[in-house]
Amino acid sequence: MIKSYKARRIISNTLIYIFLSVLCIIWVLPIADLIMTSFRATGGVAPVYLIPQDWTLNNYIELFTNNDTTFNYLHCFTNTLFVACCSCVLSTFSVLMVSYTFSRLRFKTRKFFINIGMILGMFPGFMTMIAIYYLLKAMNLDGRLVSLIICYSATAGLGYLISKGFFDTIPRALDEAATIDGATKNQIFWKIILPMSKPIVIYTILTSFIGPWCDFIFIGFIIGPNHPENFTIAYMLLQMVNSENINTQYLYFCAGSVLIAVPITLLFLKLQKFYVEGVTGGAVKG
């Protein structure tokens, strides 16, 4: 009896191993294909083989050395880095300020602001895009990188929920002790709450930093195809695979994608714990 149980377990485990391995291959295959294509020398968009016949680094080299005005990778990279850094600082401060206020400070209009924030969050995000575009145009900012920074950071304050949840878990007794010792609310924020919430601060910084690298919607509206000097990476890659450019740019598209995917992937793998806590934190509490 025991033997048969063991045998059954071995069989079922083997089946699971096979099943999981097959699925893993399916899951990793597109990514692997992307990486292999980025090292492919010839063959256009779709050759009849999966593994490249001749390997080359040329796609990467070409990406950095071409003098193409539209698809200047280095230029787009610096643009994106600049936008990401600025909007990261602004949005991190907005998020932390709003979440600290809603978590720790009590004032008359608190409930009102929280409700308004919830309602605003339910409108589809790009419904307002056209109006934002005209607003920026009226301020003479359209087509500039500043307008991108504004777009990515302006409404960041609404994403306060995760960090507010974290702040809520810090015992209030600490605040009270500090108040008795004569600390102002400002000092409590900077010297007690922030140092104690390092994980959530890092999470906020990194998510707001990654945002501009992945956005291809807002930039299409605000910068548009007519300002190639202000493209970000995501938009440049999107332009590379539109029907006009795909035949000439496809291999470069793959190389460019791999280059930006690597740092983001590494960041995410490091951060997945925080991600899970952020998402399930609310769920488990109900």
Binding site: M127, Y134, F189, W213
Partner: protein
């Protein structure tokens, strides 16, 4: 139902019971919501009445300087020594008046008509371009002016309060608060003002103004035939909503079909990801399986790579001339390319999107549920095994009910997220295959991607705004239900 009955039910029945209970409580909760709303409105009205009463009381009781501050903001403060504060208030009043004279009032006057003079280009006769009104600027700047006016109004009411307070302070022999001490308060007692000012200003300018503007657009005829500068657009009342709900056959048909598909998509996408992802998570976490973290990392890798990269690449792979089709043909499995993404009038594109969405979504479920799955008490499984339950039975009787219980809120957020799932559809099929039966939409378009297309391709802003409002209503309804259900779940927890 009393507790004994409830406890004797199986976990699965409990979940169903809870769900039904949640829906049963819906009318009651909606009723409560309406009562709450009524109370809130009543409170609001009472607040206004008291505000007006106090405003006049302050005016009657105040002395001469205070009375003057009702017209000249900050006068009372300056007279009684709060000079910097008084000057600031005066500056606000002054700049508001200047703003209204030079800018706001003109636009506000044209707000009811959205402009009357159309631009005329008399090129043929005399080469003169007569500048007409720009309806869009009128609407946008009117909204801006109204919001600024509201803000200034609140500052004005507060300033009368300040003037009265400084008067009573002086009368009762207290020293009026100095500017420095009030400034210090901004970092302690009134710290929320300091912290919230920047976010609120940014959100007002770049979210609330555009949002009000777009909501108003839904009640105008702003589309490609009424593009401002060259043409005017007008208020049309609820015409757009009427169009979309049956007035205009083509648009109404598109709306109906796309709404159906949006819901079908959201339901299938949510549940297939949830259930399949959970089964995979269970397999990875099964006792005796080695390399758990390797398997998990392999799956999680797909989340980590930015979606627009993988989905654009998938789109290329699945084209008629893409790698999948070329490989299938070169091995002789198929003879003609399979049109995964743009076979017209077929279920194939929809199925492809759903399957690719599995590829995107399952890793999320694995990531989220792994931790919770390991929290399920091992004894439950052991006793089930001793009783001879099959793995399938254990899954439906133990795992699923437990998980549903814990993750219902996550599931509903996920559902609302899928209703608005822009990336997968836009990057993979771009809504295609296009069809003439639909107004500016393809067969896999969701409401949000339709909205996006109407804005970018068709410049049909009125319709886009209308759909935006409808999507908002759907999302708000589901969020309310979530709130409702999780509340009933919480009550139930208290119960047992």
């Amino acid at each position: 139902m009393n507790y004994i009955d409830y406890a004797s039910k199986s976990a699965f029945q409990r979940t169903i019971f809870k769900t039904i209970q949640g829906f049963k409580n819906l009318p009651k909760n909606i009723g409560n919501g309406i009562i709450f709303l009524g109370k809130a409105i009543l409170g609001f009205l009472l607040g206004i009445v008291f505000g007006i009463k106090n405003y006049f009381l302050r005016f009657i009781r105040g002395d001469f300087a205070t009375k003057i501050s009702f017209v000249i903001m900050g006068f009372g403060n300056i007279v009684r020594g709060q000079i910097i504060k008084g000057i600031l208030l005066l500056a606000i009043e002054f700049s508001y008046i200047l703003f209204m004279i030079n800018f706001g009032w003109g636009y506000l006057q044209m707000f009811p008509t959205l402009g009357l003079i159309q631009q005329k280009s008399g090129l043929a006769e005399c080469n003169i371009l007569v500048n007409g009104d720009n309806s869009m600027h009128i609407l946008l700047y009117s909204v801006m002016t109204i919001l600024i006016s509201i803000a200034v109004f609140f500052i004005y009411v507060a300033s009368t309060k300040m003037a009265y307070k400084v008067e009573t302070d002086v009368k009762e022999g207290r020293k009026p608060a100095s500017f420095i001490s009030e400034f210090r308060d901004l970092f302690d007692k009134r710290y929320h003002t300091t912290l919230l000012t920047y976010p609120i200003v940014m959100i007002s300018v770049f979210l609330i103004i555009p949002l009000i503007f777009m909501i108003l657009i839904a009640f105008t005829n702003f589309d490609s035939n009424h593009q401002p500068q060259a043409y005017l657009f007008q208020w049309v009342g609820t015409q757009n909503f009427h169009d979309i709900l049956g007035g205009n056959p083509l648009k109404a048909y598109t709306f109906k079909k796309l709404t159906e598909w949006t819901f079908v998509w959201a339901i299938i996408a949510t549940f297939s990801n949830y259930i399949l992802g959970m089964i995979l998570a269970l397999m990875i976490n099964k006792k005796g399986i080695k390399c758990k973290s390797l398997f998990r990392t392999m799956f999680v890798l797909t989340i980590a790579v930015p979606q627009f990269v993988t989905l654009l690449f998938m789109n290329q792979m699945l084209q008629d001339t893409g790698i999948v089709n070329t490989l299938l043909q070169s091995y002789g499995i198929t003879h003609a390319p399979i049109q995964f993404l743009d076979k017209v009038n077929s279920i194939l594109p929809k199925a492809t999107v759903l399957i690719v969405n599995l590829w995107v979504g399952i890793p999320y479920t694995i990531l989220i549920t792994s931790g919770i799955l390991m929290n399920i008490p091992e004894e439950l499984y052991e006793s089930a095994r001793i009783d001879g339950a099959s793995p399938f039975k254990t899954f439906t009787k133990i795992t699923l009910p437990y998980m549903l219980f814990v993750t219902t809120p996550y599931l509903i957020t996920q559902f609302v997220g899928n209703l608005n799932n822009f990336n997968v559809i836009y990057l993979l099929t771009n809504g295609g295959p296009a069809t003439a039966n639909y107004y500016q939409a393809g067969q896999t378009d969701l409401l949000v991607t339709w909205l996006f297309k109407l804005t970018t391709v068709d410049s049909n802003f009125k319709l886009a705004a209308t759909i935006g409002i409808i999507v908002f209503i759907i999302c708000a309804a589901f969020t309310l239900i979530t709130f409702n259900m999780s509340k009933s779940a919480r009550n139930e927890e208290e119960f047992s």
